[in-house]
């Protein structure tokens, strides 16, 4: 694998992660439990989809085969998507959405902080912008998690159940593939395993305040980063891509 191929794959993965999660969060638009949260979730989804456009446009340029952001988003099947499994899980109840966002945000923020120092000017530019947005995301998901965990019996139990359910998807975030190892060696992206300490500190701190238990389960699911997805991604893409698949090249 050349460095250019690795860079394509990494930019594509960041695009896929943010696009898939952004789409999942956007599913709350018009359905969130309170109006303020409807607006907040739509805003967070918009930030992520904006970041996805930046990454996918860059991936298309690095690849050099004429694929733009739309071709990469709308004309690939689930096996060609290389996002982490946690991003594609269904939105579930509101506790699931908040717990998923929290586990992701706690990883996303230190990753972006490192990328904001990348010698790759484009990754650096995208990350410098996104780091400000994701600082708000992490604050938002952390505050909700504390409110749920340290709230009523019902909210506590639902948050704990969501945490137990989603925990198995967190290991994959720190598993580097060949492309990520190559880029980390070249100093372009951080070593993913080095982000674990930061993630642990954030997770443990917020869970303690929320009176939630860190799940003991050590078995971790993986495969998303290699195109092996849970059944949920294909269904999500079917909905997300239906217009471009039915009317290829349609614009409005």
């Amino acid at each position: 694998m050349t460095q250019q191929e690795a860079l394509f794959r990494f930019a594509l993965r960041m695009g896929d992660n943010t696009l898939v999660l952004g789409h999942r969060i956007s599913e709350w638009c018009g359905h969130a439990p309170v109006l303020e949260e409807d607006i907040a979730q739509a805003n967070i989804a918009l930030d992520l989809i904006g970041q996805a456009r930046n990454y996918l446009a860059y991936a298309g340029e690095v690849e050099g085969k004429g694929r733009g952001e739309d071709a990469l988003a709308y004309l690939r099947d689930s096996r060609e998507y290389i996002n982490a499994l946690i991003t594609e899980q269904p939105k579930g109840d509101f506790a699931h959405t908040i717990v998923r966002s929290f586990l992701w945000d706690a990883f996303h923020l230190p990753l972006l902080k490192a990328l904001a120092n990348s010698p790759d000017e484009r990754l650096k530019g995208i990350a410098e912008k996104a780091v400000k947005e994701v600082t708000y995301h992490l604050r938002h998901s952390s505050e909700w998690l504390v409110r749920f965990g340290d709230g009523t019996g019902e909210s506590h139990d639902r948050a704990q159940a969501a945490l137990n359910d989603l925990w198995r998807f967190t290991g994959e975030l720190f598993e580097a593939d060949d492309a990520e190892r190559l880029l980390a060696k070249a100093g372009i992206i951080p070593q993913l395993e080095n982000l674990k300490a930061d993630w642990n500190a954030t997770v443990d701190g917020v869970l303690k305040e929320a009176t939630l238990q860190r799940p003991a389960g050590e078995w971790m699911a993986s495969g998303g980063k290699h195109g092996m997805h849970t059944e949920h991604l294909g269904l999500m893409l079917a909905e997300m891509q239906v217009l471009q698949r039915t009317h290829p090249g349609a614009t409005w």
């Binding site: 303020e36 607006i39 930030d47 456009r53 930046n54 650096k124 530019g125 912008k129």
Partner: protein, 160 residues
């Protein structure tokens, strides 16, 4: 022949579609204008990665240049350095306030990013007895507040 100053003055007509009292220069979205013989280069930067107004502002810049008879121009979009609320001009801040949006504090006050910033004054009655309702308001760049004194809700252009 037009100078960069002429083009900048011309682009004063281009407003933020969501806050139509403030121009893209006052907002800090217009980053650079240069003129090389008859060729005009304009650089703009988004406030947020997903700002849906960006495509519109770009089209407005292009339309304004075309209508003024500028034939050769390029509009670039730059992400770096990342836009900050510190780039909103003093005049822009005043216009935001008059429009009913509490302007952002300086990001040099890092407490603003950490959520422990001093209270935001109500743009309607001036009281600092205000409460944050939501970090996320009617657009990506705003938070939602309410004033405990006059009881009115208001938008706050959040620190970025």
């Amino acid at each position: 022949m037009r100078t960069a100053e002429d083009i900048t003055a011309l682009l004063e007509q281009v407003k933020d579609p969501e806050i139509p009292v403030i121009s893209i220069r006052e907002l800090g979205v217009l980053r650079n204008v240069s003129v090389d013989e008859d060729r005009v280069e304009v650089t703009i930067t988004p406030t947020y990665s997903g700002c849906p107004a960006m495509d519109f502002m770009r089209l407005e810049v292009e339309r304004t240049l075309r209508e003024a008879g500028v034939e050769r121009f390029t509009v670039h979009q730059a992400l770096s350095p990342a836009w900050t609320t510190d780039w909103i001009s003093e005049e822009g801040r005043k216009k935001l306030l008059d429009f009913g949006i509490a302007p952002p504090p300086s990001s040099a006050d890092i407490r603003a990013l950490k959520g422990t910033a001093p209270a935001i004054a109500c743009p309607l009655c001036g009281s600092t007895d205000t409460t944050l309702v939501s970090h996320f308001g009617s657009t990506a760049c705003k938070a939602l507040y309410k004033c405990n004194a006059c009881k009115e809700p208001f938008d706050h252009f959040k620190c970025h």
